[in-house]
């Protein structure tokens, strides 16, 4: 078959040009836009890394707390945990001395030591909150 047989013929093109096309309802565009605006993240936004951390950190902390409990526990069954002996003998003393510098604060300056500890704890929590709980802007939510 030669291509020239498929060249648009003027007669048919003229006929089709005058043919009316089916149209949807008058509110079609509105309907589409309503659906789109109902789902603001219809254009997929790449989830920032810290948003993953935001949902994972409680589980990480819980896991660490359980591990700490198991490694420092005297319960009979915990004796079989591999690495517990090494942790108790070599690493636990370091944890015990970690806050030894603050002991002097507690003994000599009681009126200061408590507020200092509170401020330190509060500062730590605020820092964690600042880096882990950063809220995405509206532009980040709706742009690509």
């Amino acid at each position: 078959m030669e291509n020239k047989e498929l060249l648009p013929d003027d007669f048919l093109m003229g006929l089709f040009r005058n043919q009316s096309m089916e149209s949807p309802s008058d509110h079609f565009t509105e309907g589409v836009m309503e659906q789109i605006l109902r789902e603001p993240e219809a254009v997929p936004v790449k989830k920032p890394f810290y948003l993953y951390l935001r949902s994972a950190w409680p589980y990480v902390l819980l896991g660490l707390a359980i591990l700490l409990f198991l490694f420092t526990s005297d319960l009979p069954f915990t004796g079989y945990i591999p690495g517990k002996e090494y942790f108790s003998k070599n690493l636990l003393p370091y944890f015990q001395s970690l806050f030894s510098g603050f002991k002097s604060l507690q003994i000599t300056m009681k009126t200061i030591s408590i507020p200092v500890m509170v401020i330190l704890a509060g500062g730590l929590l605020l820092t964690l909150d600042h880096f882990l709980f950063r809220k995405p802007t509206i532009r980040q939510q709706t742009s690509h």
Binding site: E5, L6, D9, L15, N18, M21, S25, M33, S143, H144
Partner: protein, 186 residues
């Protein structure tokens, strides 16, 4: 309403201006709807599917690579959505049609048609198109009404270029024969 190039609207949408998408919808809604309704044959279903098509296109806009025109890409989504809805196989191979023997060539048929009033010609065309299978109706509309190329139609329908050419040749001949037959009856 005068429209800008599709890429202008696409850039705006990807830069966060969701409202720019409304212009794309308004610009292409008629042909999308026409494509869908030719396949599903039901106005309410066609409206719902067409809305889904635009929603799907919006959600996939980031993946549009601009190797083809936006309209071609959109019509492909529309075609696939309509076919999925009807659960039809894509372009089931229709049996070879017997060649209808007429005494007239396509040029002669065209001349006869030109003797008629414009309205009468449109009525005859409409009746002849209704006789065609939905997919053939869609093919010939894409080619002559929307002036899509053979390659575009191949991309939209998933048919090979050679397959589109073969079908277009048959559809065109059949359309002329049907128009002559309708004229003879009238």
């Amino acid at each position: 309403m005068k429209f800008q190039d599709d890429n202008v609207y696409i850039e705006s949408v990807l830069n966060g201006d969701v409202s720019a998408y409304a212009s794309l919808v308004t610009k292409h809604k008629n042909l999308v709807f026409s494509i869908v309704i030719k396949i599903v044959n039901n106005r309410e279903d066609a409206e719902e599917i067409s809305q889904d098509v635009f929603l799907k296109a919006y959600q996939s806009l980031k993946t549009f690579e601009r190797k083809s025109k936006f309209s071609t890409w959109l019509y492909r989504i529309a075609y696939n959505a309509a076919i999925s809805k009807t659960r039809k196989k894509r372009f089931e191979m229709a049996p070879l049609e017997e060649t209808v023997i007429t005494n007239y060539s396509t040029d002669e048929i065209g001349q006869h048609m030109n003797e008629l009033e414009l309205n009468d010609r449109q009525v005859i065309l409409e009746k002849a198109l209704q006789r065609l299978p939905e997919e053939d109706n869609l093919l010939i509309t894409l080619f002559y009404k929307n002036e899509n190329s053979i390659e575009d139609i191949s991309y939209i329908t998933g048919l090979s270029v050679s397959n589109v050419k073969v079908r277009m040749h048959r559809i065109r001949n059949r359309l002329y024969n049907d128009m002559q037959e309708i004229m003879n009856r009238n």
